[in-house]
Symmetry: C2
Subunit: 320 residues, 2 copies
């Protein structure tokens, strides 16, 4: 099967049909017509086999997650997803695999309103690069730069589940069957907080998505905003499955340093706190206030009013 | 060296600074502000080591060509290049290689007015995916669809040099040293016809860039436009180096089926022929009229008034 046959059969015309797409897959470029008074947000992520995913990852999960990680980046800017390109490199044409992968990719794109407008199919070691363009009203995008001393720090959802799911998959943790299913689901099918991100516009002072882990990603916000922070680890939102599957220090380790949760972390000035909590409740997403921005440039962790030292629970292990 | 260090050191802030870039490398997404009344043209190409390039390809050439192949797609639509993302996968951090690659990439991006606004650096088998967004006045983009019976067929530049260059590099052809240098240069540093493409707007009825070879790419235009064509092979533009290095049938083989010339092929109605030739002369690019669109759906090749049969010169060999 030639390259253009693969595109035609598995990818052409997939995702959400959009009226702003003038020309889709099949020419040298796609043509799209952006809305007026909007900026375009552009994000790009690559998933490489044996680096970002293992060969046993189901095609359905990979088709989902390859889009979700990009949608999460758009969510953290408050942007609405619009148009995507898919560059997929495959060692061979496995039609069963491609059927599952493309069906999942298409369904996910359609659900989030994204049109697949172009791409490139090549032969080589398995790898997927997705670039998504979103739109955000001019001047309303959220960035990592605006956190101010005194702002409250929030996260959506629960933390650490994805990393524990990976450890379950790799037999590094043993948990009950129901919990294992839950954690693996969270690892394979993270929910990009697209609507929550849009609800944060004009309310949050900064935002980022949690791809590398709370400590690392909050660190990016602190560095770019030139501030410090105090986080109360007892306020970190943990799933019931997490609480019942591992001891507290292990759970906090996952919550603080486990990657790939794809929840949002954001900061809010006191003046916007009420409006923000209402907006997020409307968006139907759970959230937790976990700390406060401070002066300086350090992240301090507290537990029951005492400094909490991450080395207690094997920080190095989790941050790898 | 960590991923973000690689981006910061080699790629952040590279390419052309553009006032329409609100936020570049360093946040979850880039933010750009498109011009009013323009469509966005999106193109994406992947180059995989041992598939699209060999390990001995100089980093400088790869940094250039990875952009050029995308610019060529934009050129064929008549779009102006604007913003790019780079997804690069590398087996190891080779700073000398990255210095050369990123310098060449940056210089090329700057020359063509493209800002590098984001990307992803990952570990794995060497591969480069570049996505470039361009802008084109609404309704003015050139596509593969508009060729009509009677339209003249043109190409820019000379044909077949890149494929011969590849054969010289792989020791499948032996030519004089000067000619070898010229062909290899054409293979490693194809010129994307960006200005020529813009000059064709409102004049050409269809356009495509020559990435797979004349016969194959003209075939795409014929299929999408639902027409046929007659090409006079004696009119195919050949470089002096090509004429003096190989016999006529071999030269025609390269010109008809050799890939990666990245010249433009386009069709023009008789009424626009004069205006078009003036516009292209202003753009400073050579061009040749090689045939005419016909009814039916076949491509016919003529030489001195007789049908020309490509099997004579090993069509299969060249089309592989």
């Amino acid at each position: 099967m030639k390259e253009f046959k693969v595109i035609d059969r598995f990818f052409a015309g997939r995702g959400q049909p959009r009226r702003d797409v003038e020309l889709s897959v099949g020419d040298d470029c796609a043509l799209v017509n952006p809305a007026e008074n909007k900026s375009i947000a552009i994000t790009c992520d690559t998933l490489v086999e044996n680096v970002h995913f293992f060969p046993d990852m189901p095609a359905k999960a990979l088709g989902y997650k390859a889009i979700a990680v990009n949608l999460s980046d758009l969510a953290s800017m408050g942007a609405e997803p619009a148009w995507m390109t898919l560059a997929i490199t495959l060692p061979e044409i496995d039609e069963t695999w491609l059927d599952e992968f493309s069906a999942s990719l298409s369904e996910t794109a359609e659900y989030y309103g994204v049109a697949l407008v172009g791409g490139d199919t090549t032969r080589g070691p398995k790898s997927i690069t997705i670039t998504i363009n979103g739109q955000v009203p001019k001047g309303k995008a959220l960035t990592r730069c605006g956190a101010k001393n005194g702002d409250w720090i929030y996260v959506t959802g629960t933390l650490g589940d994805s990393a524990l799911g990976l450890d379950v998959l790799r037999s590094k943790q043993t948990v009950a069957d129901d919990a294992a299913t839950y954690f693996i689901q969270r690892h394979y099918y993270p929910t990009p907080r697209v609507l929550a991100g849009q609800a944060l516009r004009s309310l949050a002072s900064s935002a980022i998505d949690l791809s590398d882990g709370l400590v690392s990603d909050l660190g990016h916000v602190l560095k770019r905003s030139e501030v410090g922070a105090i986080v109360d680890v007892t306020a970190l939102p943990l799933s019931d499955a997490m609480r019942t599957s591992v001891d507290t220090d292990t759970a906090l380790g996952y919550a603080l340093t486990g990657g790939e949760d794809y929840e949002l972390l954001f900061t809010v000035p006191e003046s916007q706190r009420g409006a923000l909590e209402i907006a997020l409740a409307h968006a139907g997403v759970s959230f937790a206030r976990i700390g406060q921005i401070s002066t300086g440039n350090k992240l301090r962790l507290n537990k029951d009013g005492e400094p909490y030292n991450p080395t207690n629970f094997g920080f190095e292990h989790f941050s790898s």
